[in-house]
Subunit: 786 residues, 2 copies
């Protein structure tokens, strides 16, 4: 089933009723609320939805409501007959059980219909407690989360009820729910309502105690039942006379109104106060700002004021940039929320120098093991890719200066890189890239390096092509063509080919000229393995990167006459090689490390973004012991004097440990098996496996589209270069905007939020994206481009 | 009461027994576990501690254990007579209620005694559910948190029990507890144990179902009671025959052993894998690394292997650097953990450009209001102080170049600052500081600016002195002396004084020389208001900073012949003024904004560290609309092309919103009243209020100490400059190490972790630190220095 918009209607106040436990009086409270609505003759009747009902007892809920809140519209979507948890009922009956997403869709559909037919107030009742399993065994709090209905929590007035009520509340908050009110029965002995009223007051959540309802009839004989009926009727009448309930209904209405008003004001208030990253504000209007109410799985819930009537005001919108390349395990992931909360509860933040705590150590050990590069021995923590790369260049430059005896305060030490590379926004790492739109207007930017142009890989007209840069065709030879992407990555075979020889000669010759003729000194090689992201999703021929690493390592004499002979396995040679895997690492391209595509073990590598599964900022810079030793001396001033206050913050480290574990388990458990199968042929013995969540067929088809210059898919990334009929491509091109608008209009079931880089439109999924969502987007692409 | 060490003994496995709800069989399960221990004749008897017991029902727990788990040592610390929640029992009886910290201390003391007397296994039973209130009305899960005992959770086998068990588990995790095992009764109808076994298996937590115990006797006559007794005895015998329980006891033992082994290995494993920030690793040994098991309030729980016998292996250690200046609301703060979890559950991370979500908008609006500088209109988000300062200088330089028509790619634009300033570790902001130990060995560092030497404030020999730098005594006049710190901050009076005139003349003359004679061009003024932190806790005469701002604004002609006339209120004049309040802002110095001490509204300001109350990295750069407009043009390339992937991450923003709210409420609610009173006299009409958590008397006393050169306290900061008999002070001095070691040895009740900056030892509390902790540390300082 497709995703649903979260529940929000201007005219319909819909709430979900959760109980702090089973048997706390959800139905009675619902009846009280429906009664309060129905009392107002002017308003439309209340509606009551029981998505899943079990057994005759629960079945009676509908009837109870109908009897005591006359006029209420009631509906039950799925009915089971046993008075036990639905998942057991379902299992026992061997029924056709509706899937969770079907239940959620049905609830949304019902509420939409009610909104359309003029209903103003609806309650969606759950069964049992907050975490009582739904028919498929998943917690209701998880099952209904895509709707994120505001919650009416029925607290427990019995002995122990304070505890279960607060725990239930915490479980709801952990899932990003908003609790709009709490009701419970007044018990003058236990006085839970007093305690809880104070508790919830601090959170600005109104609590209303209701009188205790009459006791259940002791027997089922006619007399008893009649007496019960009378007692219940008189109970409801008595409660209705109290002013607190009608006050509460007004408060619920006010909250719904406030919520919509806030959502409507947000883009204009953001326009007033927010200075957006990477954004030219000139000409930007509030309408250009998307209001995101919440997010779930791969989807934002975006506010769409123009449709806030029947269908509701929130739209599921596929997060097509994986939230700036960070998202891995889905938005609103309750496991990651719990990981974060655990670390926050156990530590808060603990200052790092000289100390160690479990999440930081676990993550360091897990990462070193996961990346599997035998050179890496040390982990340095920072907060984001940019700062992690600052650390990496400080490491690399020091290692080179230390070995070659250079005094960097007297002479410029440069880096060797690739054109179009990008390593972050702090000025030091900006200097690692060639002058470009990104950096050239930054007042303190001074590019310090040499950047190679390079051959690029793309699928075009049905086959995988490697295009040589025009100016280098003489040096690098003719364009290449391959039958599969696996063949492109078969570097063990390709490195000995003519292309490999030409690449190496060209690289070696260029370095020689730079150093000998131009007197440049180089301190490190920096590369984003395979794909240069921010530079425009440039898919570098992996052979070129491999050859660059090979040449640098094989010819230390190129860089210094003092170059010592090789120091054996694990020692850097020529220059320290830094891999910026901030974007490409940790399964973004389908493999743990993008370096593994190249068969090169770097001396320093940086990971971030997906590191925390897409939750909070964290970055690691991994390094060899040899690089580490270059900072070792009896003098403190020789140390790497770098460190941010929240270095190795426990929340980030814990979330990263759990994310990495989850992703590794997914890999080992075959979670991506279907995607992999689609990208047969199987890898050859010497090439790494190549696969994508985006279907191979789509890539081939689109490669024939008239407006498509070329495209590729790898791992979670799909990148489409569009022909730029106006300009010359690049970051300022507008060629991709048409396709971006087409995606924003969406498919049958959801819209797609995407980002463009000039004439390149890319899409990026999480590692948990479902084939159904991906295939629907592929349909939109086909419709737009073919 | 002083803080306690968290509970950990090598020989004693102590667990806390929590129930998922009341009446789930905690005591029966405890009896089963004690029985399993007592069966082994070789081992010492089990021990059972009920810290707080209510009513005859609960009172029976001890007797029940004694009867059915013969030989078990039992103890109850506090007994109440009513079978209701202890907080009501306590209230009703008007008893002298033990404070929460007293209860916690008593539990620790009892367990320590048991550990000392050879007991190997102890259970600490709670009352009711996880969040059932203790005698003072606080949740038990919060009340016992300082001990952080590993938990045996008794799940609920009844209808609804799946939900309450999982919610209880989540509430425990939110508080950083480790659940070591789950037990519950087998109920073949509801089968909660099956569901929960699978659930907890995924979390590697063993679950053991126990047979249902016999039903409670229907009446209290002798026969019934005798039958019940027989049934119970036979029940326990039957359970004891099952192998699962003894397996579980072994598993609990193994977990305790594993935990200790891990703690013992951590420093050496960290030594192998971690590259620490700001740390010279040369000569560093594993023993130099402190293992932190958890943290709570102001205290780390540090592992102390040498004392892991009777007193337990964990020591409460005051976090005397406020975890690198970040900590504000206490470690392991459950409110902040819940905030973080809520945002994670509602959003995860949402990519920011072009989007808005509630926490980011709320924080922007809250900050602008809290800081109260009318110039600030825009909020730019980054991840840490360093990146936020990179953004600030990009803003400032652009604004200046834009107004003055400078082409920064052709000429060097510098900044004006103060000597000893420090703005972070990325290379761009390193360039904003004068050459120093911190930066001068960084290969790409090139200081770009001019840095004024300045007069410093300190308490010495009982009075507040302002020392002029030696080389500037002619220009700035003689040293000054004040009777109170309020008088130092009375800038409205001082600015017109002779010192004010001299400062201004000196500043103006210096700038004139730099620009006219040396041809320098300046693009911004950067200052850390009042205290220059990393530079060595330098307390700058606020008058000097005020005069620098005044001169720059009053004399735009100093900087460019093109300087337009003033553009009215809110417009920057001369140079954009950037305040780096990363350390000094948001109540660190006792006021919301440290700029308010100076009476200067900056054009750009950066906040971080305390922004999230001390939980996760987040930074904001605030700017005026005029600075913002300098980036506005029809060209995207003119925009501020800066942005980290996790910009405005929801978790950080939500936690910051809640932290700011809490701190503002504390301020308004008079939480710091006692501290403020201590720092009378009341402020004069023209000076801001000045106060500190560190007592004024202490500062005066220590100022007479022979080894103290000078000191000061402001807000949460205490800074002591020690006489350096060996060297010249500065970052590489070792003068403060003796005092640091003395603090590490600790006072009567806890140790103190502190950081030194050369010959300066500073201590920093959170804003929630209690007078008792602060005064104990003051005692250690007195003992060490007087």
């Amino acid at each position: 089933m497709p995703p649903v918009g979260a529940a929000l209607w201007r005219s319909l106040r819909a709430h979900q009723v959760y109980g702090a436990n089973t048997d706390v009086g959800k139905t009675i409270v619902s009846t009280v609320l429906c009664n309060a609505i129905n009392q107002h003759k002017a308003s439309s009747p209340a509606a009551f939805l029981k998505p899943v009902s079990t057994g005759p007892l629960d079945d009676a809920d509908d009837r109870h409501i109908q009897r005591y809140a006359t006029g209420t519209l009631t509906k039950c979507l799925y009915q089971f007959d046993e008075p036990v948890s639905p998942h057991i009922a379902a299992r026992q009956k061997l029924l056709t059980i509706p899937r969770d997403d079907e239940i959620v869709s049905s609830v949304h559909k019902t509420l939409s219909e009610w909104a359309g037919s003029g209903i103003n107030f609806a309650l969606v009742e759950t069964a049992g407690g907050v975490h009582s399993p739904g028919p498929n065994g998943n917690s209701q709090a998880d099952l209904y989360r895509p709707l994120r209905l505001p919650i009416v929590l029925i607290a427990d007035s019995r002995l122990g009820g304070i505890s279960s009520s607060i725990s239930a509340y915490e479980s709801l908050l952990l899932r990003g729910y908003d609790v709009h009110s709490v009701l419970l029965f007044r018990d003058d002995y236990y006085q839970n309502h007093e305690y809880l009223r104070t508790y919830f007051q601090k959170k600005s959540i109104p609590l209303v105690p209701l009188p205790q309802p009459p006791a259940r009839p002791q027997s089922q004989d006619t007399d008893s039942l009649a007496r019960d009926e009378e007692a219940m009727a008189s109970y409801y009448e008595r409660v209705a006379r109290g002013s607190e309930v009608s006050g509460l209904v007004e408060e619920l209405t006010a909250k719904n109104t406030e919520r919509i008003e806030r959502l409507e004001a947000m883009s204009s208030r953001a326009h007033d106060t927010i200075w957006y990253p990477f954004t030219q504000h000139h000409g930007m209007a509030p309408k250009d700002i998307t209001v995101i109410d919440s997010a779930y799985d791969d989807f934002f819930q975006t506010y769409a004021p123009e449709t806030a009537s029947q269908e509701g005001g929130l739209r599921a919108t596929f997060d097509g940039s994986a939230s700036w390349w960070t998202q891995g395990l889905g938005h609103g992931n309750p496991e990651l929320a719990l990981s974060a909360a655990y670390a926050a509860g156990r530590y808060g933040h603990v200052m790092f120098p000289g100390n160690i705590h479990e999440p930081a150590l676990s993550l360091a050990e897990t990462l070193l093991e996961t990346i599997g590069n035998p050179r890496f021995q040390k982990v340095f923590y920072t907060d984001n890719g940019s700062t992690g790369m600052e650390v990496a260049i400080k490491m690399g430059l020091r290692a080179a200066c230390h070995r070659y005896g250079w005094d960097a305060s007297q002479e410029q030490i440069s880096i060797l890189g690739l054109k179009g590379s990008y390593h972050g926004d702090t000025i030091g790492v900006m200097d690692c890239s060639e002058p470009s739109t990104y950096n050239k207007k930054v007042e303190w930017y001074r590019g310090r390096g040499y950047w190679f142009d390079f051959p690029q890989v793309r699928m075009s007209q049905g086959s995988w092509k490697i295009d040589m840069p025009e100016s280098l065709q003489e040096a690098l030879g003719p364009d290449l063509e391959y039958s599969s992407l696996n063949a492109v990555f078969d570097l063990e075979a390709r490195v000995a080919s003519e292309a490999g020889q030409r690449y190496k000669e060209y690289i070696r010759g260029t370095i020689e000229t730079l150093v000998r003729d131009q007197g440049m000194k180089f301190g490190s090689v920096i590369m984003e393995p395979v794909i240069l992201g921010a530079g425009g999703m440039l898919f570098c021929d992996p052979l070129f990167q491999r050859c660059l690493a090979d040449v640098v390592r094989a010819h230390p004499e190129l860089f210094s006459a003092n170059a010592p002979p090789g120091r054996g396995a694990g020692s850097w040679s020529g220059l320290p090689i830094i891999f910026d895997e901030v974007f490409t690492g940790l399964y973004r391209l389908g493999r743990r490390s993008s370096a593994s595509f190249l068969g090169v073990d770097a001396d320093i590598a940086v990971n971030a973004k997906l590191l925390t599964g897409g939750l909070v900022p964290l970055c690691t810079t991994l390094a060899s012991n040899e690089v580490f030793e270059a900072f070792s001396s009896p003098h403190k001033s020789d140390a790497l004097l770098h460190g941010h206050s929240y270095t190795a913050h426990a929340v980030g480290c814990q979330v990263a440990v759990d994310s990495l574990r989850t992703m590794t388990q997914m890999e080992q458990g075959g979670s991506w098996h279907k995607y992999r199968q689609d990208w047969q042929p199987a890898p050859t013995a010497s090439s790494p496996e190549v696969w994508s969540v985006w279907s191979h067929g789509l890539v081939q088809e689109l490669s024939h589209a008239p407006s498509v210059e070329g495209l590729f898919a790898l791992g979670t990334v799909l990148s489409i270069s569009l022909r730029d009929t106006q300009g010359g491509g690049g970051y300022t091109s507008t060629a991709a905007q048409g396709l971006q608008q087409r995606l924003a209009a969406g498919g049958a079931h959801f819209q797609v939020h995407s980002r463009v880089l000039g004439n390149v439109l890319y899409l990026m999924s999480s590692v948990t994206s479902t084939p159904s969502a991906v295939r629907e987007i592929e349909g939109v692409l086909r419709a737009a481009l073919l």
